[in-house]
């Protein structure tokens, strides 16, 4: 192919991952809504015998949305963005094409196996690392395949300088590889002893050390799955959709390297007042505060990219999705550090404020950004106009309302419970028995469940809109450059 000639990008793998994003999004969020209703109405625990209790379903929800939905979204956007910012098509390398397809196939099989094994109660119990060792090995294989795809495409690129999004994809790949390998180190017991389940393994680390490694992993899995690759997306899709240049290159550099350096330290904030050494807890607390700088650096860089162009918020719902995502990123990254301050953590830890925090981050930032990215990709991948702008508007307001219901109810629930646990009467006795601090939460659990349900309905609207775009949208005669075309 001659330089300057139009490159024919290949979207087959991006499309496959787009499908997986929507499928696993639905599965993960449906289970999430069931869980939310179970807390408000415990009778719902008995819908599917031992397979339907809150405790059995909870790892399915977290794994489904984190490793099913979010990872699919990350891979979908990588196989779209990667080609475009590196100015090279997957078609040009049959090898990389094969790697990409194998990556998808193995990934899809792993997630399906994860669903089955978690339903059966086969779990290591370590949060976001619940999968047992044979599945861990599968994960390693397709993670390496993703790495081959990233560095392979980079190897044959035409654009010499790596665009900001590529920095973030590389960081995500390397950091998760390191974290995942170390945290999942385990010895398969049947191989050593010759007895028992072949699927069972025992952690290489014990007690406090295990906790330390787990939260070094757990916190940074959040960082490098829910933050870093999502920033990769917004750095590509917001400037592209709005036809604006990124506001500041220097701010991009500061935010990127700052985030990488600081993020890993902050894992200690999950272990405040635990038995890990004090200096580590303090370090986790301090670095969490410092983390505000690079987090807000990226978010502000995105908001300022829209400087003088705020009218686009009125005309283009996709811009609205991304600006809201950026705003929720700011909210979430100020809330997290607040919860990491020792005295606040003493109240917040173990309460519903924590899932509240997680969800304003993921519902407002991660899911909104991924949906916006897929909406932007759809007209380019399918050569069709987005099916319905009004549906997108409705979805936006429905889901925004849903998030507000979700996090406000969880804030109140968490602080209420945290305060009740520590309440003493005038004689120095605890005022409340534990069950008092549970029953008081029922109204908040109900509001949260309703919020979750509204959000899920919005996600179905998204799925429907994407499906109709791919099958029934008006066919475009040429690829749109910036703002995505959409029918009223």
């Amino acid at each position: 192919m001659q330089n300057g000639a139009k490159i024919e990008y290949d979207y087959s793998v991006a499309k496959a991952f787009t499908f997986a994003t929507i499928l696993f999004g639905i599965i993960g969020m449906v289970i999430g809504v069931v869980l939310a209703f179970q807390l408000a109405f415990p009778e719902l625990n008995y819908l599917a015998g031992e397979y339907g209790t809150f405790s059995r379903l909870r790892p399915l929800h977290t794994n489904g949305v984190a490793f099913g939905f979010t990872l699919s979204g990350i891979f979908a956007t990588w196989y779209y963005v990667g080609q475009r910012v590196l100015k090279v098509s997957l078609k040009e390398s049959p090898f990389l094409m094969g790697v990409a397809k194998l990556h998808f196939a193995l990934y899809f099989i792993t997630i399906l196996l994860a669903v089955v094994t978690l339903f059966m109660g086969i779990t290591t119990s370590k949060e976001y690392a619940e999968l047992e060792w044979p599945l861990d090995l599968l994960v390693v294989v397709w993670w390496v395949l993703w790495g081959v795809s990233i560095f392979g495409l980079i190897g044959i690129r035409r654009e010499r300088t790596l665009y900001i999004s590529v920095w973030y994809y590389i960081a995500s790949f390397l950091a998760v590889a390191m974290l995942y390998l170390f945290n999942n180190m385990a010895v398969p017991t049947a191989l050593v002893s010759g007895y028992g389940s072949i699927l069972h393994s025992v952690s290489m680390y014990a007690g406090t050390n295990d906790a330390l490694v787990q939260w070094w992993y757990g916190h940074n899995a959040v960082g490098f799955v829910f933050t870093v690759p999502i920033i990769a997306m917004i750095y590509y899709f917001l400037p592209k959709e709005s036809a604006q240049n990124v506001y500041s290159y220097k701010l991009s550099i500061l935010a990127f390297w700052g985030l990488l350096f600081v993020y890993l330290w902050a894992g200690g904030h999950h272990l405040i007042y635990s038995t890990v050494p004090d200096w580590m807890q303090t370090m986790g607390s301090v670095m969490s505060i410092v983390l505000i700088l690079p987090s807000w650096g990226s978010a502000i860089n995105m908001l300022l990219t829209m400087k003088g162009e705020w009218n686009q918020l009125q005309t283009n719902p996709l811009i609205k999705f991304m600006i809201l995502a950026s705003t929720f990123y700011m909210l979430s990254t100020i809330e997290g550090p607040i919860q990491s301050i020792k005295s606040v953590n003493a109240i917040a830890h173990f309460t519903d404020w924590i899932p509240g925090h997680v969800h304003d981050g993921v519902l407002g930032w991660v899911v909104f950004m991924i949906m916006a990215a897929l909406f932007h990709m759809a007209p380019r991948m399918y050569g069709r106009e987005i099916y319905s702008k009004s549906l997108m508007e409705t979805q936006f307001w429905l889901q925004t309302t849903a998030i507000v219901l979700y996090f406000t109810s969880m804030w109140i629930a968490g602080i209420t419970q945290g305060m009740m646990w520590r309440a003493y009467d005038e004689y120095g006795s605890l005022v409340y028995s534990f069950i008092d601090t549970v029953t008081v939460l029922q109204p908040y659990y109900t509001i949260r469940a309703v919020g979750g349900l509204l959000y899920l309905i919005g996600f179905f609207m998204f799925a429907y809109n994407m499906y109709k775009t791919a099958t029934a949208g008006r066919v475009l005669d040429k690829e749109p450059v910036n703002a995505s075309p959409m029918a009223a």
Binding site: Y46, W167, D210, W257, T275, T351, L430
Partner: protein, 221 residues
């Protein structure tokens, strides 16, 4: 420098990796030698207790119950002595949890009995009115997997030198010996229970999940 890096993917990736790995090297690694030492009196779990721990993990009890008592008066009044690092020396994996939808369980063996657990797991509301915990009736019929618990104990003894079979420590022995000991322990638990199906199963030489789980919960002190 940054612009130079951005045109050289290899060095860029190395720089990213070092920046990311730095915190782990400083923070995580030095801690290992110090924190894994058990305090006096801490013992590894017996095979039946370990079997129960697997039931606890299988049903993700840790999704709603913590096993970490923080050093506040409101916690020590409620749950007992705050947690010490060495007490967790044989916990693989740790089960601190991250959410207290239900109460902490790290010292539940001090203030709950076999009888209480039996009633509670069958119908939580019968002992805690207003409880939102589901009943776990399948623990009364599912047979626990003692073999895998033996495999784990054997593995930690062989690989991590967990002190089974040492003076004043739980005995592991051979597979047959371990199974027999687990059954003996199970008989003691079952004798304190009233569910006839459970008693019958133990009499037949089978150990229902509930028996192992109660043995584990009773061991948390």
């Amino acid at each position: 420098m940054f612009h130079w890096l951005e045109q050289r993917p290899f060095f860029f990736a190395v720089a990213v990796f070092l920046t990311v790995a730095f915190a782990g090297i400083i923070e995580v690694i030095p801690d290992f030698a110090k924190q894994s030492k058990p305090i006096v009196g801490t013992k590894p779990y017996s095979i039946l207790e370990l079997t129960g721990r697997h039931v606890y993990i299988k049903d993700s009890c840790n999704a709603c119950h913590s096993q970490l008592i923080r050093p506040f008066k409101s916690e020590t009044d409620r749950y007992g002595m705050y947690s010490l690092s060495g007490e967790y020396a044989y916990d693989r994996p740790f089960l601190w949890g991250s959410k207290r939808t239900g109460p902490d369980l790290w010292r539940v063996g001090n203030y709950r009995t076999t009888d209480w657990h039996e009633n509670h797991m069958w119908d939580p509301k019968s002992v805690v009115p207003g409880s939102i915990m589901p009943a776990y009736k399948h623990h009364f019929t599912n047979i626990a997997d003692v073999d895998t618990a033996y495999a784990e104990a054997y593995t930690v003894k062989a690989v991590f030198n967990t002190p089974y079979d040492q003076p004043d420590m739980p005995k592991l022995g051979t597979y047959e010996e371990a199974k027999a000991m687990a059954l003996e322990e199970a008989k003691v638990i079952a004798a304190g229970m009233k569910n006839q199906d459970v008693k019958d199963a133990v009499a037949r030489g089978e150990i229902p999940e509930i028996v192992a789980l109660i043995a584990y919960l009773n061991s948390l002190k």
